[in-house]
Symmetry: C3
């Protein structure tokens, strides 16, 4: 068996002079509280503070990074216990699943998943041997036993992880019951929601009309009418605000925006509700809604996050059998300069608007996003996202964005995860890479070590609080 | 207050062995004369040699790199004294503007503007503390006082900066009066013009027909006729040649070229003049004109520069209030392989043709531009441009271009600036980065140190003179 | 005269700690046998073992990397002795051609060609001075004399180069006579063919209908009928299998695939045969054929290689005078996510299917290819290809692919060359760069040195054998 690598200098560059600066910078931020302003943890955990289940339930079943790699090497999703939509049989023994995972842990060499997992195994559970076939069952049993203890309950981990604040993400129709359950406990200040209205905005979904009808029921508005539909959304936003939301999130296929007349909006909305809209009309409706939602953000102060560019559920067979979020989302080329223009023409110079742009298409960093964020007062750049939330991805992001947008048009780190236990590991990778990036600038005499010390605190903590308006209320 | 960083090893890589080679190479080129074959300085300066105005007029008002960053952080262009087209009020006190700039100088950490400005402040003015809120007024007054001295007149600075030759850029309708004023003084050999006919070629401009009419007046040709229009352009080119021009420049939205019949050309030209051409027809006309202008380059020997890919004046509101060149130009994806084919089919193998290609879309470096320049005898690659005229941008350029195009299909550095005082700083950055790139190849045993010494002189001086035909006439 | 650089540490990174790890890793793989699973050597060489001709015939005339660079600098293809299709005169004296090459050898500084050539000159021929004008004739005569010796016959070089296996590439109509000539000699196990059916699949070729007719003659099938055409292809695949083929190769302009009904296929095939198909229909036909060929791969187990994205013969004039493969192929933007979907919808989860994807568009590494290969069990990624088969290109590939696809979804190295003597040099570059990449991960504590040692053997040898099914039959 091999030891888990978790060298104190991991991810710092080889050059000793640079590494030394990176190490010093890291010392100043490694223990800062974690701000997690965008992610997908379950509010239920923090509301009721129940223990997590076994190792397999925690580390494999919900982690599409993990099972996509295993699937790519010919391991069936059934054998990994991924639940089938169609009721087909899947492996039910969590130990067998864990063994498969351990047998193939070598596949993750060089991936961020490997570093996140090793960090959790060592830093959260105190394990010291790297996971492999031989120790798989010891691992499973040890982790599962630990998970049943007080110290591994969600709220205890929140404290242990030094997470000052975490934002979950809920759909527009969500009851927010788990957030409501936290009210008065103090935890509602540490666990806030985010308003994600894709379900009532994306007319390509089979359940769009039903969702809009439900939106009407929930709000008492006439959501068959364009004005009523907008009023209902405003009402939902207000409810989300009451549960701490400072931001909205929009996961559209593209960054298209539009600026139609009211009459055009009503007609397009009618067509979308009727189920007869073409794909292009559905896309136009999503684009119009981004502009409408920007207008609402100006009214209520919520920060917009736009996450475009994924071809969702690319694998038909996997989608049919297993449903969404099964590691089969693939990035597509994404254009921003023309796509965002209608929204920017309407609201781009309004000092009350705050939009954070993300991308899965790294080619736009230097070509489109940095120039846009380096000009428009309403635009900031979210961190390297999803497939690019990785050491190399983050380095490419900083190297390609900074010279044009500077550092103050970025917003710190998002872990964007449902893997709660990995949150400290993910923030740690981001802090290390930012230390490395700044150390490199110091050693090349582009910024001073003093400046770097000030900047690393911004990147690790301050910018996230400011961009997501988390400090001032 | 902090000192200005301007370490003698700045921009060299951290690794000591590589840095040492870079340092040695740099010693051999740092004092070479500057060839500035493409830029936007004002010929008036060199013709009449008047002193520049105050610090704000020199460093803030004309520098879109500076005010785009400030604007992106919520500082109004009005407060920066940018003149409004519509006559709206703007800040008139240059000291107040300078103070805002100084207060926000930290925003430029990690950007090329910061390095250029620091270099000017320290090397040109002898300042040693970094600009900040506290020393803003001292800075302003010191710089403004210095600017009124003999030693800061344009011609004195040309000598001090060791600029052997500088090319300005004038529109096709320009009177060239300032260049004419230099004739006989000897300065006309150091300050030459460049022919940029966008104003008479781009039919999407509101003033296109008026410009073509004025072209007719200036030349005595019938510019309502296709043949007369071309003859008029030839005549203007000849006039520019007489004022030193060895190159033309073309700032089109795309790299599209076309090769239409004469009858099609006349019909398209008529439609463009009538104001009824569609956007696609205007684009086709620009494309046809690139091919026509290539033909003229074969006749008169002028080198063509093609600078495509900017979405100009993306911010409607800023354009309406403040006009062009206000930091709101955003790069777009740009295609060359299909776009250039009509021109290349017609003239691509003519040994008399020289075209220098630029891009704002770094994805084409390795995919399109290096393969094109590594095959077609008429094509060379201009240096990293605009947003990519930066340490990281230049490194990406060299790393992505060299293996396919080699170094001899590139043309040295362009500063492309109207910020005259920053010219030495910009060439210095380029020389340092090229030293670094070559030093890296030396240390990796890909070229010898002797070769690197020969190559760095090419990159710093020889290639620019050769590519722009500046030495042999 | 300068010595040839061929430092034992070439291509290793400057940092001494990293270099030391790279050096150690390299020691473990530098002498591993070469697996060359995809290339364009001539089977004739290995079948009859005749000596090669002179230095010019061997190093200049067939190497488009060499003459494209010379041509780009204004040297005519005629003067390089490239044979004209139209019978026009070209230089016939190999010594004059060699002298031109030597005079311009400096142009290759920083290119992979320079490293490959220097390696051959020094390691294969024992030359120690770098090629230049002065030693050109000595070089020519020495090399040409050596080539006439026993030790320089193809089979002797195969042994000397330690090439365990090499795959050639033949068109679907090839007689495979040279492979047949090897049968029974033992050499048929070391020299295998690859099935490349572009000539009978690409309806945009002038000879498409004639080729399909010839296919019918060869196989006895009625190839005017869709079913007969497919049966004929199956038959040819079987014949190729009998000459060792384990893989097919497809050099389409794009990665488009399609999944039409049989009736649509017959109609489209008819139209393509008639010569009346539009460019879009020809493209659709190629796309349909990729899907058909994937189906056949499932049947017979051959691995599909898809090499899309070249604009072939971009230079009209060069094509007209000199024909194909004259250094005028230029990469184009290439899309995979939508293009491959029809094929993947049909066969993407079949465990019997193996597809290796290549690209000339590096922007898809992190955005499309790594996510696709990191999910679909049938997809693996071929190495950096053609213009990107270079130190920088390979580093970009590893850095952009590994975090999402891991290392086990890649397939080792392809030399893809017709330049037989350069094969060891090319594999050596690949091994060095992979050592460097892994060493960097070791020094950054992302993998252990033990893991790196295991991985470098995979990347240098094992993965190629496994991906191309070369070991188990």
């Amino acid at each position: 068996m091999k030891p888990i690598l978790l060298h104190e200098d991991r991810l710092f560059p080889a050059d000793e002079a640079t590494r030394s600066v990176a190490r010093s910078l890291y010392q100043t931020v490694k223990d800062l509280p974690i701000i997690s302003p965008h992610g997908h943890t379950d509010p239920r955990w923090f509301a009721y503070d129940d223990n997590f289940g076994n190792a397999t339930e925690l580390f494999i079943l919900p982690d599409h990074y993990v099972f996509r790699m295993l699937y790519s090497q010919g391991i069936s999703l059934e054998s990994l216990g991924i639940r089938r939509w169609d009721g087909g049989a899947t492996e039910g023994d969590p130990k067998k699943i864990w063994q498969i995972f351990a047998d193939h842990y070598y596949l993750f060499a060089g991936t961020p998943s490997r570093m996140w997992l090793d960090t959790v195994f060592k830093n959260v559970f105190g394990l010291s041997d790297m996971l492999c076939s031989e120790n798989a069952m010891d691992y499973y049993e040890f982790i599962t036993a630990e998970l049943s203890k007080e110290a591994y309950k969600p709220r205890a981990l929140m404290d242990r992880f030094n997470i000052e604040l975490i934002a979950t993400t809920e759909g527009a129709l969500d009851t927010l019951e788990h957030h409501r359950a936290m009210q008065g406990s103090g935890w509602e200040k540490r666990v806030i929601t985010t308003f994600r209205p894709d379900d009532i905005v994306d007319a390509s979904r089979e359940d769009f009309a039903a969702n809009v009808a439900l939106l009407g029921e929930i709000t008492g508005e006439n959501t068959t009418d364009w004005a009523g539909y907008l009023a209902a959304i405003r009402q939902r936003r207000q409810t989300f605000r009451e549960h701490g939301a400072t931001a909205t999130d929009h996961g559209h296929p593209t960054a298209l925006t539009a600026d139609l007349s009211k009459a055009e909006c009503q007609a397009l909305f009618d067509k979308c509700l009727s189920g007869n809209a073409s794909a292009a009309e559905q896309e136009l409706f999503r684009g119009q809604m981004l502009t409408e939602l920007a207008g609402m953000s100006i009214e209520d102060g919520m920060v917009m996050q736009i996450h475009p560019g994924a071809f969702r559920n690319h694998n038909n067979d996997v989608f049919t059998k297993f449903g969404r979020d099964k590691g089969a989302d693939i990035p597509m080329q994404t254009e921003y300069v023309n796509a965002l223009k209608p929204l920017l023409d309407k609201y781009g110079n309004d000092p009350r608007l705050n939009i954070i742009l993300f991308t899965l298409d790294e080619t736009v960093y230097s070509r489109e996003l940095a120039p846009l964020a380096g000009h428009y007062p309403c635009l900031k750049l979210g961190p390297a996202w999803w497939f690019h939330d990785s050491p190399e991805g983050m380095l490419r992001y900083r190297h390609q964005v900074t010279e044009t947008a500077g550092l103050f048009n970025t917003v710190g780190f998002n872990d964007d995860t449902r893997a709660f236990l990995s949150i400290p590991a993910r923030h740690d990778v981001a802090r290390r890479i930012d230390c490395r990036f700044l150390a490199n600038m110091v050693v090349e005499h582009r910024i001073s070590e003093d400046e770097a010390a000030s900047l690393i605190k911004q990147l690790s903590y301050d910018l996230a609080k400011k961009a997501y308006k988390l400090g001032q209320e």
